[in-house]
Subunit: 400 residues, 2 copies
């Protein structure tokens, strides 16, 4: 699906990637990925807000702090979370084995894991596969890497964009995984970006934090926040020219590029939401502050009653009003307007009699919910899914 159209051009100069099956997942599915920069890259990361952080997250927070890295090794099928001291030793062993196979010095690589929580990582499967993986790396190996980081994802997620910045063609490439445990702050997922832009780690971190705030932190599938969320960006500087610095014109252009690609990948995560049959954009406007607009939008997007109504194709705006009222924000019931795919179903807080038209309008994969509070000028937008039988099926089947 999305991202596939870009496979041909999925590369950034100076980076190689790959993915293979190491035996962590059953059925010969790919589960081990490696992304390597041929030269030292600036690096920045954003990590889960969950107080229970997986070993690889704690490992990366420390190691990414150095600002320079050569890449990351990632496994799926096991989160290496709640695994105690062994978990930390395994995260380190995983990095060390990959560094050895690539002839890199100790401390060069980051680590990420995703999958089931609380099961010790089968580290020997990983270490015994790393040499084979290192030999399969290629500049066009990104789709294999995107495949190998999937868990319940129905499709691999990758995207690439080029942009003229400071007289140079900057390429930015990203891959991501995520389908369940998706919640703002931040979505349960992994995402990795590589660019040839010239940027130091601090500038990269600024751009990444901004992009994540506008994209990955605005998607929700099931209000869950995982123990393993990680977004990393590597910049090897190979496009040359003046460094992009915070506050400069180039920075704005790069931030825009990174935000666009983050939005693209984060929307792919929502479209691939476990069991999702609809892609729902929720926009609350006319709020007295952005915080209030955000609280209202999150309450609506998080409501099981709203999500199941959309699954059933029911323009049940009463549930949207109930969610709005329970969000704790300032509102005047009598001035609320609600639009479903542009059909006004509520005016002055009451039914407009347009329900049949709305029922027709929302029988689409893409649905927009617009709420106008008519109190102020602030706005907040986020993206979510409906809630279907398949979400229950996927998440109730015993782990195997």
């Amino acid at each position: 699906m999305a991202g596939e159209s870009n496979i041909r051009r999925l590369s950034v100069r100076g980076f190689r990637a790959g993915g293979i099956a190491s035996g962590i997942k059953k059925g010969g599915r790919k589960d081990l990925a490696l992304i390597v920069s041929d030269s030292p890259s600036s690096v920045a990361g954003v990590f889960t807000s969950n107080r229970v952080k997986a070993a690889p997250v704690l490992f990366d927070i420390k190691r990414a702090g150095k600002g320079v890295s050569r890449g990351v090794i990632i496994n799926s099928g096991n989160a290496n979370a709640c695994t105690g001291e062994k978990g930390f030793r395994d995260a380190k062993a995983m990095a060390k084995a990959a560094e050895g196979a690539l002839g890199l010095k100790d401390g060069s690589l980051l680590v990420a894991s995703t999958g089931v929580i609380g099961v010790p990582l089968p580290i020997e499967k990983i270490t015994s596969s790393i040499l084979r993986l290192s030999q399969r790396l290629s500049p066009s190996g990104w789709m294999d890497a995107a495949e190998a980081i999937r868990t319940t994802d129905a499709f691999a997620k990758a995207a690439v964009k080029k942009k003229r910045i400071g007289g140079r063609d900057v390429t930015l490439l990203g891959i991501a995984k995520g389908a369940g445990m998706i919640c703002p702050d931040m979505a349960t997922m992994l995402a990795f970006f590589a660019t040839d832009a010239v940027m130091d780690s601090a500038t990269l971190k600024d751009a990444l934090s901004n992009a994540v705030r506008l994209s990955f932190n605005r998607i929700t599938v099931d209000n869950g926040t995982s123990t393993n969320d990680t977004v990393l960006i590597f910049a090897n500087g190979l496009c040359g020219g003046q460094p992009i610095r915070a506050g400069g014109q180039g920075f704005a252009a790069f931030s825009e590029l990174l935000t666009e690609l983050s939005l693209k990948l984060s929307h792919m995560v929502v479209r691939d939401g476990e069991g999702a049959t609809r892609f729902i954009a929720v926009e609350v406007r006319g709020a007295v502050s952005e915080g209030e607009a955000k609280a209202a939008a999150r309450k609506i997007a998080g409501s099981l009653l709203v999500k199941t109504a959309f699954f059933g194709g029911d323009p049940n705006w009463g549930r949207i009003m109930a969610a709005l009222g329970s969000s704790g924000i300032k509102m005047r019931e009598g001035s609320v307007e609600i639009y479903l795919n542009r059909v006004r179903v509520v005016e002055d807080g009451m039914d407009t009699g347009m329900e049949k038209a709305a029922a027709r309008a929302i029988k689409k994969r893409d649905v927009t919910v617009e709420v106008d509070l008519k109190l102020g000028s602030h706005i907040y937008k986020l993206w979510t899914t409906d809630l279907s039988y398949d979400y229950v099926r996927i998440n109730s089947s015993y782990r195997s």
Copy 2:
């Protein structure tokens, strides 16, 4: 199911109740209930925290403030919420028609509605049925009233208890409805209590607030808060003796009685949770404050991932750890213990290898989740359901 065993004794001296079909609901199902005290009763109410309050809620908040009432008329099948000025006129008309039929003076009765939001109340169906309903009232008519306030409830909920207080036999009877849109603060539901205790309105309100905090505010099915939640209690004083006063010994005894009955009814609401196959008690202990224990318990009970795992019979404690970590409370991952139906699945934050035993232990209708943070001495307990296909089915089918 529950409550049915008490049918024979379901009465309180001086109160009459009844329920009939007025045609709001299809298929001749009961949808109009009336509870009347033969003499003026003290009254107290607790209402939804939703900012969008239905017309009958606003009506009752004002009228219950007088502290004296003769009863309440209730309809199901229509919430009379988001219905503008007509909604207020309808709530008033409903009370007035019932007052007329019973020969009561204006202002004697309260009103409650539950059902679909945003549809004008078919007030003529109600007013034309009230005379018939008033003729069907009887001291043993409570089960008919409990039937008539059902929406998606699978069974009617009623319970009665007697207790010796201040040398008198005090009877307390309650009926409730609720199955979906159930969330703490407060659960989406209606509940009505009648007692022959001698208490003024302020004392009654104290006892009610305390009981609601320990019961109805501690249950969650789907994190939704409705526009119509209402709990009312009427006390006609017919058991005689000294009035029960706040702070006295009788007050403690009455509070205990009311809390017990509230717990009983609120647990019935959870057992009848839409699509529920399990009744789950979540207890967090060893927290540094009750607020922190509460935040953690609510996050666990609200997690779709935890709820779907229990539906599947999967003792997936990793999802409980993830929920705990994202609740924002103080915790030391390495000291957490988790028990599922008394089987310790997590010790020192890690797997105990007892998963198979736990899987067997939770294959029951009743499941307890105990989390010990081992940081302090505070505790919080609440009750919830699993999340099944049937929840999605019930809430995605188009209203009809």
